[in-house]
């Protein structure tokens, strides 16, 4: 098999045995980017970094374009940050560098992570390696597409409402949103600060556990970071699920779900039952309110976070052409009008509206209360369950343009991933089959806060018994 198609742990074995070298691996992955990136558009830009000496994990990695890399262009796929090169590394980049990771470049995404299809980037749409006429999901669509296409051995994404898991599902790879606070967000350009987490997108569960070990941990510079010891997640890669309590929430199997997705997920349930897990039918009664709650809380936070893009400290500055005596407000309004795309404008305006005088109680405060109910549903469920199992998304990858003109239809594709962000719990998507069009289907596993180990052991048991993770997109044929 080609080097670019291997997982990080397979590559590390080859390096250890002397069969290959970090330099050879980086060259193979770069050659793959040159060969296929014009088809996927997963990378916005690439660098020529070389592996340094003998380092513990000299694996080529792709970084979502909203994570700061010192001295490199970082734009959130937006025109408003067109020339921005951060003067510092994000905490996760320091950690990747500390183990010798080779940073390949910046991965495409929905502008400011606003989207579920990677169609809103100022650098062009990303295409799904399994079918170039379909979206890779979003907003970390570049990260998932790059890993699926062999353009990166593994990658970092960020997840505010499903932006790691839904693209992982659409691209047939593994993606984890860690517990809120598990990974430092220092250097992540903020979207919804009470929801955002950085996480791994990888080719299999073993790599996911390893990459989480590299990036997890307390960081004083992120005041929401949690000071708990980080376990060795590789030790949780055991297959034993006997006695594991798995909850199946009835609200996640709704009308509108693609029948093949439901069938694949139910087959996974049958597998766990056969392996001795205890399957429980559960109810998360406030699930139907999750999308509405999210689009109030997340846009409110986004409207506030994006106020910093004002044409003063960095990025774009524009003044109205006709007005010679433009004042500072004209400059703000013109800069933001030219710098942000339509979805960013929609979300900023929606967030501003729900926070504005007269609407705050009716929308924002009500959403924060609904968030409590949704979180309570999950907290209660985790008293009796170790894992909550569901589809990651209601469908497989949809066609490019299919939902682009209907923001609400796009928002509803996040219906199963949003609750984990609202509650702060960890959730992982892994491949669980293909539909009749040959598109990957994703299985979502959620657990209580900081119970990533349970997710890994459950996911590993399923993965090793099925082998979906060994299938690769054949986009070069």
């Amino acid at each position: 098999m080609d080097l670019f198609a291997l997982t990080a742990h397979q590559i590390m074995e080859l390096i250890a045995s002397g069969a290959t070298s970090p330099v050879e691996v980086a060259a193979a992955v770069r050659a793959r980017i040159s060969a296929v990136n014009d088809r996927t558009n997963a990378f916005i830009r690439t660098y020529q970094e070389s592996p340094v000496g003998a380092s513990p994990m000299p694996i080529p990695i792709g970084i979502k374009d909203n994570i700061c890399v010192k001295g490199r262009l970082v734009t959130c796929a937006s025109r408003i940050l067109k020339d921005f090169c951060p003067p510092y590394d994000a905490a996760v980049i320091e950690k990747i560098r500390a183990v010798g990771g080779v940073i390949l470049g910046s991965l495409n995404m929905d502008e400011f992570a606003f989207g579920s299809s990677s169609e809103t980037s100022a650098y062009g749409i990303v295409r799904n390696p399994w079918d170039l006429e379909r979206v890779p999901g979003g907003s970390s669509g570049g990260s998932a597409a790059a890993v699926a296409a062999g353009e990166a051995v593994w990658a970092l994404g960020s997840d505010t409402g499903g932006s790691i898991r839904q693209p992982a599902s659409f691209c047939g790879v593994v993606g984890l949103k860690p517990t809120y606070g598990r990974v430092s967000r220092y250097g992540l350009i903020a979207f919804g600060s009470s929801l955002d987490q950085i996480g791994p997108i990888t080719k299999d569960v073993t790599d996911c556990a390893r990459l989480l070990n590299i990036i997890a941990g307390f960081d004083r510079r992120d005041s929401t970071s949690v000071d708990l010891p980080v376990p060795d997640y590789a030790l949780s890669l055991r297959r034993d699920v006997k006695g594991l309590r798995i909850g199946i929430p009835k609200e996640y199997f709704i009308a509108g779900i693609q029948p093949e997705v439901q069938a694949a997920v139910m087959a996974a349930v049958a597998f766990f039952r056969k392996e001795g897990a205890i399957i429980k039918d559960i109810s998360l009664p406030h699930t139907e309110y999750a999308v509405a709650t999210y689009y109030i809380a997340a846009t409110a936070e986004a409207s506030s976070n994006l106020a910093r893009f004002d044409g003063v400290e960095f990025g774009l500055r524009a003044v109205p052409e006709k007005s010679r005596k433009a004042g500072i407000v004209d400059m703000y309004e013109e800069t933001r009008a030219r710098g942000f795309g339509d979805e960013a404008k929609r979300r900023i305006m929606l967030g501003t509206y729900v926070l504005s005088a007269g609407y705050y109680d009716a929308y924002y405060l009500r959403a924060l209360k609904a968030r409590t109910l949704i979180k309570n549903d999950l907290d209660k469920a985790f008293v009796d369950c170790d894992i909550i199992l569901s589809p990651t998304a209601p469908t497989t990858a949809f066609r490019i343009g299919e939902k682009a003109s209907d923001p609400l239809a796009m928002y509803l594709s996040d219906i199963f991933t949003i609750p984990a962000n609202l509650a702060g719990v960890p959730a992982l998507s892994l491949p669980c089959g293909f539909d009749s069009a040959g598109l990957p289907i994703g299985l979502q596993l959620m657990a209580a806060p900081f119970a990533e180990e349970k997710i890994f052991s459950t996911a590993f048991a399923y993965e090793q018994a099925h082998g979906w993770h060994t299938k690769r997109a054949r986009l070069d044929l």
Binding site: D83, C85, P87, Y88, Y180, S194, S223, T224, V226, H286, E288, Y289, V291, A292, T293, Y295, I296, D310, G311, V312, E313, F314, G315, V319, P320, K325, A326, G327, I328, V329, M331, Y332, E333, E334, R336, A337, F340, K345, R346, I348, M349, L350, T352, Y353, S356, A362, Y363, R366, L368, K369, A370, R371, T372, L373, K375, P407, Y411, L422, G424, P449
Partner: protein, 94 residues
């Protein structure tokens, strides 16, 4: 009900210039999203406390000690316009 005037007002609060011919498009989109969001009105939440943060965190303080950080020059290095260590902006007061 959202009108074109409402969109204009929200846009000005958001410091976004929206062209006249785009107002109806944003109006229709925001209206459909708000209609969907209105389902939250069905929820009984009078006695439910709000969750703005998933973990009950107190204020996070650090010791007041000097530590390395960006130099003023580094921090200013992407200033779009500057004058002797200050950001320069268009006229603020008429």
């Amino acid at each position: 009900m959202i009108t074109n005037e409402t969109v204009k007002y929200i846009a000005s609060l958001s410091r976004l210039h929206i062209e006249e011919d785009r107002l109806p498009v944003f109006r229709a989109e925001l209206e459909s999203i708000l209609q969907y969001i209105d389902q939250l009105a069905k929820l009984e939440v009078a006695n439910v406390p709000p969750t703005s943060h998933v973990f009950q965190m107190e204020n996070v303080f650090r010791d007041d000690v000097v530590a390395p950080s960006l130099t003023p020059a580094e921090a200013m290095s992407f200033a779009i316009d500057q004058h002797s260590g200050h950001y320069k902006v268009p006229k603020v007061i008429e």
